[in-house]
């Protein structure tokens, strides 16, 4: 059984009566990476600062590697938690060289120079030991911050929007570098991002936060394909919500009929989460849909189609399928896609398998 590096239980924090983090339960397995993702203001940075010891929670507890660090009547200051933190702007000490920055968190003993050398090698900073932070590129600064935190052998590393300060061209490369360094070091990491792609790409697990709560924490695949709430479904990737109705063994929706094995009475209103790649369209003079918007995305066209009810739905089509705005189309579901289904904002198990007409 694997060890738990960080465990939060019932963690809550308000700022001047505005709740920032509410009743968070969270576990991060040692050696894994958790991505905390959510819109800005959802409380993800506050959660990170609570774990790091830079905020005091109103209630709840945190354990780091099995040791309680905050709880009723207990507060271990940040310097005694062995929790590393990397800030959005890296917070490199501007009056110290790269090597001095990395050595800052190490005890003054015989091992210190060796440890600094190791970290410099690990993070690919050889030859830059005596540079000052302002002489480094953004990606290099990122690696120094990483090496500085890892040098002190933290139980867990917290990264706050670690890539948001890099320009898009550099971002993908630095992301890969950071992932490699973290896995080489075998580090446990929690990182905060508002970028859904980044979360799906980097997290072994993804926790989606909204309004101070964690709505779902699971593997990237599960979170994407089996969202626990409409918010999770629409936040991670483009999606439209479409009403449907239970009709025995099937669901009827404006775009077709789906098999349904759920346990809801006939006539119940449910909502389907439909992604643009689930929808196919065909030009059809008698078709019920009308194309109202076309977005050229290079390899693809993203069409928005208005249905007779007034609802709109998006469809992703290859760039060779070019339709004018106003074109009448028939709309159907692609074969083989599972559609998440919600009843009163709660997921309904096994909504539907293959589409049938």
């Amino acid at each position: 059984m694997s060890n738990i590096a960080v465990r939060c239980a019932g963690l809550s924090k308000s700022f001047e009566d505005v709740p920032a983090v509410q009743d968070i339960d969270l576990e991060v397995v040692e050696g894994s990476t958790l991505a905390l993702v959510g819109p800005s203001g959802c409380g993800k940075t506050t959660l990170l600062r609570l774990i790091g010891g830079f905020e005091v929670p109103d209630s709840g507890s945190v354990e780091v590697s099995g040791r309680p660090v905050v709880g009723p009547g207990l507060f271990v200051p940040p310097e005694k938690r062995r929790v590393g933190i990397i800030f959005q702007d890296y917070a490199l000490f501007p009056h110290m060289t790269v090597a001095e920055n990395i050595a800052y968190g190490l005890p003054r003993d015989a091992d210190r120079p060796e440890r600094v050398r190791q970290m410099i090698a690990l993070s690919g900073l050889a030859g830059m030991e005596s540079r000052m932070p302002h002489e480094l590129s953004g990606g290099q600064q990122q690696r120094v911050a990483l090496a500085r935190s890892l040098a002190a052998r933290p139980h867990v590393l917290l990264l706050d929007e670690p890539f948001s300060n890099l320009d898009p061209g550099l971002r993908a490369r630095v992301r890969a570098e950071v992932r490699d360094i973290l896995s080489l070091a075998g580090a446990t990491a929690i990182f905060v991002t508002h970028d859904q792609d980044e979360a799906l790409l980097l997290g072994d697990r993804v926790a989606v936060m909204n309004g101070g709560r964690i709505e779902q924490a699971d593997t990237p695949e599960q979170v994407f394909h089996r969202p626990a709430s409409p918010f999770v479904g629409t936040f991670l990737g483009a999606a439209d919500m479409l009403p449907a109705r239970v009709a025995g063994e099937v669901l009827t929706a404006e775009i077709g009929v789906l098999p349904f094995s759920g346990d809801l009475p006939v006539g119940t209103e449910v909502t389907l989460l439909v992604r643009p790649d689930d929808i196919s369209i065909q030009p059809d003079p008698d078709g019920p849909g009308r194309i109202v918007e076309a977005q050229f995305q290079g390899g693809f066209y993203l069409y928005r189609v208005r249905l007779p009810s007034g609802a709109t739905i998006r469809s992703l089509q290859s760039h060779i399928r070019r339709f004018r705005i106003g074109t009448p189309v028939s709309v159907s579901l692609e074969q083989g896609h599972d559609l998440p289904c919600f009843h009163q904002d709660r997921p309904v198990p096994r909504a539907g398998g293959r589409a049938a007409r």
Binding site: G53, R81, A91, G105
Partner: protein, 510 residues
Amino acid sequence: MVAAAIALPLAYLVMRALGAGGETADLLLRPRTLETLGRTVALVVAVTGVALALALPLAWLTSRSDIPLRRVWSALLPLPLVIPSYVAGFVVVAALGPRGMLQSMLAAPLGVERLPEIYGFPGAVLTIVLVAFPYALLTLQAALRGLDPALEEVSRNLGHGQWDTFWRVTLPQLRPALAAGGLLIALYTLSDFGAVSLLHYETFTWAIYLQYQASLDRTIAAALSLVLVAVTVVILLVDLSLRGRARYHRSSSGAARPSAPVKLGRWRWPALAFCALTVTGALVMPVAVLLYWLAQALHAGEPLRAVWGAAANSAYASGLAALVAIAAALPVAILAVRYPGAVSALLERFTYMGFALPGIVLALALVFFGANFATPLYQTLAMLVFAYVILFLPQAVGTCRTALLQVSPRLEEAARSLGRTPAQVVTTITLPLIRPGILAGAALVFLSTMKELPATLLLSPIGFRSLATTIWSATDNGFLARAAVPALLLILVSSLPMAFFVIRQQRTRP
């Protein structure tokens, strides 16, 4: 603790004045008091008006026109700031007074026995304007450089001429700068002691000193001090109400492109003469006068040993004041920046009192306080240093605060997460990063203390002579030659950081 130390002597001053009750009220309503009030207000109004009228064209010429040697004028014009008012007073007396240089120059060929009287109002206005106009010059220059040129261009585009544009667009935008510069000059004039005492113009500061010297009953001095404080408060309130109505937003921030310099054409020569004349009056003349009297002093064999002793005393007391001020300022600044709240804001505001508090009032308060409650401290160096610290603490808090604001709290948090305690973080991260601010603050306090006069006169231990008191008493007693050496020394020491500051400012604005 710092705040309490500041509040205590003042509270005592109020007590003392009110303790006399009706007697105080009578004193305050004496015609003599009202005359003093009238003279003080007249001086403040005249100095502020003349200085602003002088500073505005100079600021415009040096920041917006193509006047020849623009850089040189920008560098030279603020320099009179380093001349203490009593040195300027000495210069005016030595040059224009009876038996002064101008008279002796005119005496031989023309037989001029008497010059128009320099003592009194005209001399005091001239003296203070000469040393105080750079306050307005600097704020106006900064404002002119920060103006969005697009506004003037729009005005020209809408059919207004250059002159019209200046009056209708540029000048109104300078109002905050004029108000800020005017406030600095007004407060400077109000608290000035050196110039008014040397030129025998009885404003409150000098009246307080005379009362203090003349009588054993110091209630009158205390009452006059309170009136002076009241006048200061009125000026601050006027400034506050003016500021409250005016709101000036700049649509684009500091990165705005600079405006093209205005071509002066045939006006360039009068403009040049104007700049040259000001520099001559405010800078060249004082230095020349001092050099002349230096030569006289050397010729007469004035002993220089006394000067070195005074210089050592000045440096020692100023060094102590700088150290203590920084030690007191750091916690205040850290509290105000890192833990913002009602209490820390109030505390910080409190330390700024020294700005508006005339030195003579504070000195008097400390004299009362020391003589009655802290006799062991009375007339000790410790008491003097304490007064300096209260007067100049704002400068130290200001620079430390600015430096701290530039240090991201994330740096301190990162250091905490790397296993360092709060105390270790302060010593290894915070202090090294704000070192320039600490040094600048210490240097400012050191220089201000070197120049300080009224508190030094009232609070010095017996037999303690500083450069400032040496210059003042020598001039006051007519031993002009004796004042020249310490005055030159003081100006020299003060000029170094000023020159450094001006050079650095020019480098950052190529």
